[in-house]
């Protein structure tokens, strides 16, 4: 039997965080996506323990201001990519409006902290989303290009090849073969 799972990452993360924080009996509240306000004082030992427990799930506590902002930038990029609305303005405008900072500042900070330019990151995330959609088997490339707001299938295919070095169909073939060989062995 093979189960195909769909999941809402944000809900999963929120649930994990709630469970972990409640173990410490701390009062807290969510202030914004990915931000939690701890309402009573946390001693350094408890704080380290909480950090370590969350890390087991791949959840990082961002302690440095620049990294926090980069995390926010990544969230805004995701919102933009996952949103189904059609915005009339460009990605750069969207990000800048959401964070209320100039795009030049945001993009410089992003390169400084992550090794990649923000422009590259946006394309990279869109291609990652395209990969998931391709592997789900529910969409063809035309539909994916439309959902990810590409002007044409050729544009999407071009970026896919540029980022991964593979064509979309080759990618699908490789992952299918790999999954097949894993279930065989």
């Amino acid at each position: 039997m093979k189960l195909v799972l769909g999941y809402h990452a944000h809900t999963v993360v929120k649930k994990v965080i709630e469970t972990e924080i409640e173990k410490f009996g701390i009062a807290y509240s969510y202030t914004d996506s990915g931000q939690i306000e701890i309402l009573n004082e946390l001693c350094p030992i408890q704080f380290d323990k909480l950090k370590k427990n969350l890390l087991d799930y791949g959840i990082y506590v961002q302690e440095n201001q620049k990294e926090q902002l980069v995390q926010r930038i990544k969230e805004v990029v995701d919102e933009f990519i996952f949103s189904e609305e059609n915005y009339n303005y460009k990605t750069s405008q969207y990000i800048s409006d959401k964070l209320n900072l100039s795009y030049g500042y945001i993009s410089n900070l992003f390169s400084e902290v992550t090794l990649n330019t923000l422009e590259y990151y946006i394309i990279f995330k869109k291609i990652e989303r395209a990969k998931t959609m391709i592997l789900s088997g529910e969409y063809n490339l035309t539909e994916i290009a439309y959902q990810l707001k590409y002007s044409s299938v050729a544009h999407l295919s071009g970026q896919f090849k540029k980022i991964t070095g593979l064509t979309a169909s080759n990618f699908f073939k490789i992952i299918s073969k790999r999954n097949y060989s894993l279930t065989e062995n």
Partner: protein
């Protein structure tokens, strides 16, 4: 940014030297270990108590234990299976590329023949891997040819 730990397994001395020089010139906060064949690599990885490397670069044709055999051992080891593996090879044949991916490689690098390209290829691989590790992405979908 946290230190990036890298291992290269390659039996060719010149290739190791170029690789080392390229990494140094990229001037990242990184830590490089060089080994000369597959046996040495597997021994190195299995003996590690400290955190595992972020990236393993693997030459395909090495004496005693080749790259594909190392890849198989890495992917079947409970401790090592999550490693990012980049194949570093002189072959650019479609069959070799496909076989490496099907067996679980993340990246396939056709060894560049000039120094500047080595640098840009390594930067692309290291930065992409960094994004997979820090942006909650599904690493099963991490396949890339450079």
């Amino acid at each position: 940014m946290k230190k990036i730990s890298i291992v290269l397994a390659d039996d060719d001395e010149d290739d190791r030297l170029f690789f080392k020089e390229a990494i140094e010139q990229l001037n990242l906060n990184s830590d490089l270990n060089l080994v000369e064949n597959g046996n040495e690599l597997m021994k190195y990885l299995e003996d590690l108590n400290s955190p595992l490397p972020d990236l393993v670069f693997l030459d395909l044709n090495m004496p005693r234990k080749g790259g594909l055999e190392c890849l198989r051992e890495i992917r079947t080891s409970k401790k090592l299976k999550g490693l990012t593996v980049a194949i570093y090879s002189t072959s650019s044949s479609e069959e070799d590329i496909e076989e490496c991916f099907v067996r679980g490689a993340n990246v396939y690098i056709n060894k560049p023949n000039n120094f500047e390209s080595i640098k840009s290829v390594l930067l692309k691989v290291i930065s992409t891997n960094y994004q997979y590790n820090t942006s909650s992405l599904n690493k099963d979908n991490f396949v890339m040819v450079v």
